[in-house]
Symmetry: C2
DNA sequence: GCTGAAAGAATAATCTC
DNA sequence: GAGATTATTCTTTCAGC
């Protein structure tokens, strides 16, 4: 799975606009449309490009409240357990095991504060969670899709 | 800017695959391709759909290290100042003002630990930062694009 | 990697409810 | 206002080179 500079430019262009045509990308990287398609197909098969998605304004679909929650867990908790547990909660949009005092960091999105509180209670009820520390998001300052080094 | 159930289904389909055709989406929501396009155009104009992007595996493009950093700032720091400062650092992929002990939470991606340390030093050098608390990501357990309530 | 051709998609104009 | 249909142009995709 070796990538050259052209692959990186193609990726950067698709990150900027996932709906641009192969011909349009080809014009920018000096390749024909079929050549671009074959590269994109290969990048998808290799798992470099995991998919294409629409970027939505969460507030517009009724998701107005967001929080990051540090999870402190019992000694024998595995990442797999945390994965399974957090995936059960639809409010979880991100979850990471981390170094430091906490064991995991969970990113939640909820309709409002009441909903967030509910989701947090459900998370805290997971048997391996000993305590939590929450940061409610006041404003989103920066949020970029995975940037690609040029 | 009112959205009906069909708009929500269109959004969900585009979040799942931003490159699916209007005809394909139309088949699933019982509309013609032009009707779908008009709705998508309106949703984009209204800012509900902010764009379309490729989802990249960060490790595949050389971004193997990730961290969340809590920022503690001097009393008179504004969100705008934090926005400007964090945007200067290409390693910043997310930044939020938060409630709790910290003033802001910053999401960083770097090539490796050395690069992360560099980025962190640069962040800490910002005049309004009094101290930081870092969580290095050990593993990404969950990371979903903005889900749309069905 | 390119070109060329067939099938399919995007888009604008027009018409109907 | 919102959707369907039609017609043109552009894209995708699969050959063969």
């Amino acid at each position: 799975m070796q990538m050259d500079a052209v692959d990186q430019r193609i990726i950067a262009l698709l990150v900027a606009d996932a709906r641009s045509s192969y011909a349009e990308i080809g014009a920018r990287v000096s390749l024909s449309a079929p050549a671009v398609k074959r590269r994109v197909d290969r990048l998808r098969a290799d798992g470099v490009i995991k998919g294409f998605t629409a970027v939505i304004e969460p507030a517009a679909v009724g998701w107005t409240t967001e929080a990051f929650v540090e999870l402190f867990c019992t000694g024998r908790t595995t990442p797999a357990q945390i994965t399974v547990a957090t995936r059960r909660h639809p409010e979880v949009v991100g979850a990471y095991t981390v170094s430091g005092q906490a064991d995991a960091l969970v990113h939640l999105r909820a309709a409002d504060i009441g909903h967030l509180e509910q989701a947090l209670e459900r998370l805290r009820a997971e048997p391996f969670v000993t305590s939590t520390r929450s940061m409610v998001v006041l404003s989103r300052l920066v949020e970029t899709p995975t940037a690609v080094p040029l």
